[in-house]
Symmetry: D2
Subunit: 148 residues, 4 copies
């Protein structure tokens, strides 16, 4: 990924983090998604007082992109207030993996610390061969990838 | 609610529905949220092949609004392709109720059928006295309501 | 419901509460389920550090009963350490409602306070006309109700 | 793991599978959990018509064990009707990882096909360094591991 786009994506994730609704853990997390069409969406964690409700920043930003008709993603960036980059949890990896199957290609995962440290991986590396819509044999032809 | 805003909100929900990711049920649902500051956000259902993942349109649109720093909502509209208006499920009512406590006021629920039928209610009526962040004694002072 | 069974059910919910895994909220909740076949199952809340994971006591106990081949429920009891009885959240009402449709009859909801106060309602009253498998037209013939 | 215990665990998972509530996907999955104290619990997938509700067999069986006061697990077995063993999804790996942190040791994952094929791994291998209660600094002293 181009350094300029990388910086822009991490900056977007930082903007998302500012809007985090996290009254329980007081641990804001931000995410930004780069679509195959070149758009950037932002997300943040949204907590709930109820066990099993609420969402992490990564799932939030994917829902945001889907709501805008974008199903195919090139990369997702995640940031918290820690110096050490945070990793997506298994729930989010599963969700990212779902849409990797929709796009039929890997999705880069960019994990950023607040002081500039960046780790890179991908959903195929972090959660290989996961179950998803393509394996389940679902018809995905309706969810076309918009291109640049 | 002003007829003009009502129409605009239902139209936005209809736009959200077009983007629904629902390869399992093939039942697209759209939602639109009117914030206290007068903005409108759109959402749709996002399904997953994994039990316990995915979201209804109502939770999607709330996450979308939170990601944009809006925590206080005046009304939410929901639409599907059925003539008969669909009701929010209990999960979504709980989530809407969570943010009713953040805003400290009721949120109107507008249920629209595809041919123009509209039912109106509110989260206080549909899920009265629900548990939430205010009852849990959480500090919500950080999540200010933006006004028009 | 027979007073003796009611007491037994609330006592079971209290036992479930003792096993609660709630390191985040430190708010243990217990539940007990009376099946149509006369069996009693116990459950408790199971929290997670991840938003959107974890379960309330009511969903826990239903999963427990399903894992044992019981799909039809007569009543569910809930208890916490508060004097005032707690109500099921919208998420749990939706889940209870799902199985009310499987059994094709209402399910009593018994809300108990720690010092003996008891409120009674039902899922049809607390979340009327909710969406579920019967409305969705799913084939439920496989999930037979065991009788006493 | 002792061959006799392995067989017993897979047999228990198979029993759990029989009780699966899966009217949507019609894809029953079973799980069995071996606790550090030597007990075996069973679970199955429990689907819901609502996106974001329902549970996989692995989360079901953990909730079942917690409801019975068991927080520390040695191994979890999973089975479906496929010849090829199924893998836990990311959501379940996260949940298993949560309790690996409670027990403070790895948990073996046994993936069984219906005709006898068995793959083995562990949650530390499949979802390394995942976020959880120990990393979050939660007090887990209350959740003692029962020993044989």
């Amino acid at each position: 990924m181009d350094k300029k786009i990388l910086d822009k994506l991490i900056e977007a994730a930082k903007q998302g983090m500012k809007n985090s609704y996290s009254p329980i853990t007081k641990f804001p997390v931000g995410a930004a998604l780069l679509t195959d069409s070149g758009k950037i969406f932002v997300g943040c964690n949204v907590e709930s007082t109820i066990a099993g409700l609420g969402t992490c920043a990564e799932r939030c930003v994917i829902d945001n992109a889907v709501a805008n008709g974008e199903y195919c993603y090139n990369a997702i960036a995640i940031i918290s207030k820690l110096e050490e980059p945070v990793k997506p949890c298994g729930v989010c990896l599963q969700y990212i993996g779902e849409f990797a199957q929709v796009a039929d290609h890997d999705i880069e995962i960019i994990m950023a610390g607040i002081k500039g440290k960046v780790n890179k991986s991908s959903v195929y590396k972090m959660l290989p061969d996961t179950y998803g819509p393509r394996i389940a044999g679902l018809d995905l032809s309706k969810y076309e990838c918009k291109k640049k």
